[in-house]
């Protein structure tokens, strides 16, 4: 897919003043009658993408919600952008959440608002109305996901893939420092899935945003680990064999409430763990 030129604004200069670790999970445990996550620890560095893999019910989406502070862990510490959110009150979390973008599994677009109002939601909260500047930024964000012409439509008038792309536009419009993708390609056809993954890769390589990506599709995970966004060609391109290009993408596999693997794609392929080999096959 040939993407439109990378739009929107550059990452805010203040981003460089932020700590290099965007997210830090330290021995995080949570359960609902049954344990779901037990002593899960990992870090997300600036510009890094972590792909969370695992069977259904292993707590992948829960990790995203914990990172946003939407759910509190039973024990352990979670640090987001240098601030420990575990003991933070809900009202104090709101300002922190404005620096994080989230793409929900089912898009979670506001069905009574137009695409433009959805994408501009955060900005409207600050200004109270859609100004010319906001309208321009909405068009740029929609252009990024190639849906510029849909701004006046309602979510119900869009296809599943288009809704997912609008959700990405909504998440990136303020250029957050962290992006959380919850199965952005779930239930979509391979072509649309590839379009979405290209957008994720573009966001990773153009804006160097740190992100956590939950997916059930191994193909998407490996595409992310083996491709980069070519700014000259303005599209995703495979990393050539032997190239020293770092795509800053690592894999995390969850099983039985714990992380059983954390590493790069080559490390994953070299793993001798019986479960991982079965999972990959």
């Amino acid at each position: 897919m040939a993407s439109p030129a990378a739009p929107v604004e550059k990452p805010s200069p203040s981003a460089t003043n932020q700590p290099s670790t965007l997210l830090n999970f330290e021995k995080v445990s949570i359960g609902f009658e049954q344990p779901v996550l037990q002593e899960v620890s990992f870090k997300l560095a600036r510009g890094e993408t972590k792909v969370l893999l695992g069977e259904a019910g292993t707590g992948k989406t829960l990790i995203l919600k914990l990172a946003l502070g939407l759910i509190k862990p039973d024990s352990g510490r979670i640090t987001v952008l240098g601030e420990e959110i575990t003991a933070m009150r809900e009202r104090d979390l709101f300002s922190l959440r404005r620096q994080i973008g989230m793409v929900f599994q089912e898009s979670a677009l506001f069905d009574s608002l137009t695409v433009e109002e959805n994408v501009a939601y955060r900005l409207i909260e600050e200004t109270g109305d859609i100004t010319d500047e906001i309208h321009q930024r909405v068009l740029e964000a929609l252009d990024f996901v190639e849906l510029k012409e849909t701004y006046s439509l309602f979510p119900s008038e869009l296809s599943g893939g288009m809704r997912r792309r609008v959700a990405i536009a909504r998440a990136i419009i303020t250029q957050p420092q962290v992006l959380l993708y919850d199965s952005p390609t779930g239930g979509l056809d391979p072509v649309t899935s590839n379009t979405i993954i290209e957008l994720v890769v573009k966001q990773r390589d153009v804006y160097e945003t740190g992100s956590l990506l939950v997916t059930h599709r191994l193909q998407d995970a490996f595409t992310m680990a083996s491709h980069y966004f070519d700014r000259k060609l303005n599209k995703m391109a495979p990393v050539e064999p032997g190239s020293s290009r770092n795509v800053h993408t690592t894999f995390v596999i969850l099983r039985d409430h714990k992380i059983i693997f954390e590493g790069t794609a080559p490390e994953l392929l070299r793993s001798h763990d019986q479960y991982i080999r079965e999972y990959l096959s």
Partner: protein, 278 residues
């Protein structure tokens, strides 16, 4: 020996059953206590939000239009016929004591102190508590409320507080309108069917009302409005289980709000009667 063993087994079985029953009872109590706690927190938060920005004036006006203007026709209709039927029902009793002239007084006191606020409250509960529960419930089950929180927007400020302010304000005015059209309904029956003089009806109605009656009639809608909005929003915000869950939340919101209005009305009336020495 065999008898003893079976007695022990049966005893253990009974103990297990009682443990299960106890655990079930404990869970049910905990669930209720948690629900009351969550409701109290939400209700408290909806009020404390009034004192901190951001304030959503546009959302409040929109809700006021939906609740106030939207409920007006049905409130007028019910209020008018309530007043009319009140005059009709009581006329025969009053006639027996030769006090038919007191019809205006009776309708005025009944409408202003009790029927106006309570009936309007129950009507608005049926119409708007259900609307709030279904709207917020749908947003909850489709993760729109989580999306709002994820974008740094407080759903209680954006969704609950505007509904509470709008319902309290609109129910106050709707009750006044209901009182007035109720009196008009009573007048229509008194004048057309009972042959009472218009002046006599309105004069006795007006003179019967004391400050305590008016205060009672105007304070109740404020409390009922708060109950309707907070109960509707609470059930909506705590909905789960897809469309079926939204339906359940809607039903529970209407039932709880209506019951709470009637029960609160009793205690409020008792309190105000003591304050105003009735």
């Amino acid at each position: 020996m065999g008898v003893n063993a079976s007695a022990i087994v049966s005893n253990r079985g009974e103990q297990e059953n009682s443990h299960i029953a106890m655990a079930y009872f404990e869970d049910a109590v905990k669930e209720r206590v948690e629900a009351v706690q969550d409701f109290s927190l939400l209700a408290g938060q909806s009020l404390s939000n009034l004192f901190s920005p951001p304030r959503y004036y546009a959302d409040t006006l929109l809700q006021a239009d939906l609740i106030g203007v939207g409920s007006l026709p049905i409130v007028v209709l019910i209020g008018f016929f309530t007043g009319a039927v009140l005059a009709l029902q009581t006329s025969s009793t009053l006639q027996q004591f030769g006090s038919l002239s007191l019809t205006g007084q009776l309708v005025a006191l009944s409408m202003v102190r009790e029927l106006g606020p309570v009936l309007t409250g129950i009507l608005v509960a049926g119409r708007n508590a259900s609307g709030m529960a279904s709207e917020l419930g749908s947003m909850k089950v489709t993760e729109q409320i989580d999306a709002m929180r994820a974008m740094g927007v407080d759903p209680t400020k954006k969704l609950v507080t505007p509904r509470v302010i709008a319902t309290v304000t609109m129910l106050f005015f709707l009750s006044i309108i209901s009182d007035f059209v109720g009196l008009a309904g009573g007048w229509m029956i008194s004048y057309l069917l009972l042959g009472l003089d218009s002046n006599q009806y309105w004069t006795t109605a007006y003179q019967a009302l004391r400050f305590g009656d008016v205060f009672m009639g105007l304070s109740k809608p404020v409390v009922f409005g708060f109950i309707i909005a907070s109960v509707g929003c609470y059930y909506g915000m705590s909905a789960r289980g897809g469309t079926q869950g939204v339906g359940r939340a809607t039903t529970q919101a209407v039932v709880s709000a209506s019951v709470l209005i009637v029960v609160t009305d009793f205690f409020l009336t008792k309190l105000l009667m003591q304050i105003f020495h009735y």
